[in-house]
């Protein structure tokens, strides 16, 4: 399939990117090449084949419903943010 400029903008939006014009052009070409390559899967017959999403041999690993002690406390986690005030993470205005 052909990847158009509006497709790139749509994918950038889904990915939360704001791209420069140069990036739109470069990524457009790259993504076209990659999609062409991965589209060769069309050749493979997968009729009546069940999908595999994980190769871990177990399912539904349960643990007791207890609160575990976390390795990092609130102060340590808040120290990682750029701006903090009154135990809250500060961000630019929302509206």
């Amino acid at each position: 399939m052909e990847i158009k400029r509006e497709d790139i903008l749509h994918l950038a939006n889904l990915s939360n990117f704001s791209l420069s014009e140069a990036e739109i052009e470069k990524l457009g070409g790259d993504l076209q090449d990659i999609i062409k390559y991965i589209s060769q899967l069309d050749e493979l017959n997968t009729d009546s084949v069940e999908p595999t999403y994980q190769v871990f041999e177990m399912e539904n690993v349960w643990r007791d419903d207890e609160i575990l002690v976390q390795d990092a406390n609130r102060e340590e986690l808040l120290a990682l943010t750029k701006e903090e005030k009154d135990n809250q993470i500060k961000v630019p205005k929302v509206l």
């Binding site: 497709d7 889904l14 990915s15 990117f17 990524l27 990659i34 999403y53 943010t81």
Partner: protein
């Protein structure tokens, strides 16, 4: 490996490693050198030895840690701008286990940002040079770790392998590199790339060192519910008698010297009484396409957490919160990160999900089944790791698909969850290392490590 004792002190081992790290600084191996922290730990171990107290199995052994392992020593950046300034309050389980046995981290190693790449050229900090030829790539994504071991700076290094990121750089630098069975080593505290294929593993100079590290680091972890119940230490190495070779991998697109190295090893094995079995695995041809659908989809999901709010880099001067996210992500991610996130969102988006993601998941079933069938005919498979030895810096960096083709023989294992061990297999006429990979059924890690001694 050299372990500290009364005559060889931990301080001396660590000092030697730090000196060598400085000596090879222009290879751009380390994103952080842990000089102060490492010497302090070494002194503590030496004091214990002097007092006659018990020390661990890796006492005073200097190691290098890929920059996607979390620990409070140095910033954990995964060689990505968007994690700049992030010093982790927690330690990865694998690192905790190594340190409990006395191993000492002397530096964090360079990698393709978020482990997206096969050459370490996608690092925010620039590429790591190949240990044998400074004009060539180190391989990737764990390039820094492979070179740190190959140049004998450290006894071992940690890595992660999502589609070949341990095995390919090991092969490009002439060292051992193991991608264990999926779920063998805890991923708690490791920067996530693709959760259904990510594995923690090691680079070493000998099979015995690899075995020791697996004994220490493997096992179930309550903090990572995708770790398998302990099996490694209880497992026994099985005798390998039948070796499979994959017919489709013996073609013109694979370097002639690598194909010759494989043939030579097969002859050696025959002389030792092994049987060589030719395998037909037709779905493997599609493994790379399936991989570059499934993995970007998981990347798009895992990397959506990087928003500049809670940790790491934050774009300055955003007018409002809605601008902060795209500004931070656009400035913080490398071009290859962006390509993979966008491809992931493409294959998951409505209208394309069935044709790409679901199709790839079905292809994955066929690949898993082909391995199961192959291992009913042989005990282990021997193949090249990559189609070529280390390539020139800059050669593939502007052509994403040609870079992806590097992974064509390494990704099938990750899709199936089976283990693979890169073994050194000589050098090309121009002196570049050649590596081959031994592949076995799930939980055959110890068998592969033991068998690799027969291929030395």
């Amino acid at each position: 490996m050299k372990i500290a004792n009364k005559t060889v002190t931990a301080t001396q081992l660590v000092k030697d490693a730090l000196d060598k790290a400085k000596h090879f600084a222009d290879y751009n191996i380390f994103t952080y050198v842990n000089e102060e922290g490492a010497l302090k730990k070494a002194a503590e171990i030496d004091a214990k030895i002097a007092r006659g107290e018990e020390v661990g199995r890796l006492a005073g052994v200097p190691f290098a840690m890929k920059d996607n392992f979390l620990s409070p020593e140095g910033e954990t950046t995964a060689s990505a701008h968007i994690l700049e300034g992030f010093t982790s309050p927690i330690t990865a389980t694998a690192i905790e286990k190594l340190e409990k046995e006395g191993a000492i981290m002397i530096g964090r190693t360079n990698m393709d940002a978020f482990a997206h790449g096969s050459s370490t050229e996608n690092s925010y900090f620039g590429p790591t040079l190949n240990s044998h030829d400074r004009e060539r790539v180190s391989g990737g994504s764990s390039g820094g770790s492979a070179v740190a071991v190959a140049l004998d700076i450290v006894e071992f290094a940690t890595g992660t392998d999502t589609g070949g990121s341990i095995r390919q750089p090991a092969s490009f630098n002439g060292v051992y590199g193991l991608k264990p069975t999926y779920g063998t080593i805890s991923r708690y505290g490791v920067v996530a790339m693709a959760s259904s294929t990510d594995c923690v593993g090691f680079f070493t100079k000998t099979p015995d060192d690899m075995n020791l590290l697996m004994e220490v680091a493997s096992g179930q972890d309550p903090k990572d519910l995708t770790t398998l119940p302990d099996y490694y230490n209880e497992s026994e190495a099985k005798k390998v008698k039948k070796i499979g070779i994959i017919k489709d991998f013996d073609n013109e697109s694979v370097d002639a010297e690598i194909r010759q190295a494989l043939k030579t090893k097969c002859e050696d094995l025959k002389a030792k009484g092994c049987e060589i079995v030719e395998l037909e695995m037709p779905a493997l041809k599609y493994a790379l396409a399936a991989y570059y659908i499934i993995v970007p989809a998981e990347i798009a999901s895992n990397l959506s957490r990087y928003d500049g709010v809670r940790y790491g880099f934050r774009s300055e001067d955003s007018a409002n919160l809605e601008d902060l996210y795209p500004n931070t992500r656009s400035e913080g991610f490398m071009p290859e990160n962006k390509r993979r996130i966008m491809i992931g969102n493409f294959v998951l988006s409505s209208g394309f999900y069935d044709a790409y993601f679901l199709k790839a998941a079905k292809a994955r079933t066929l690949i898993v089944n082909e391995y199961l069938e192959a291992f009913s005919k042989c005990d282990a498979i021997l193949t090249p790791v990559a189609p070529n030895p280390a390539f020139k810096l800059g050669e593939k960096v502007n052509d994403p698909v040609s870079m992806y083709l590097e992974d064509v023989m390494s990704v099938p294992l990750n899709l199936a969850g089976v283990p693979g061990l890169t073994i050194p297999a000589g050098e090309t006429a121009s002196g570049l290392p050649i590596g081959l990979q031994l592949v076995g059924p799930r939980r055959s890690d110890k068998t592969l490590i033991e068998f690799s001694k027969e291929l030395m």
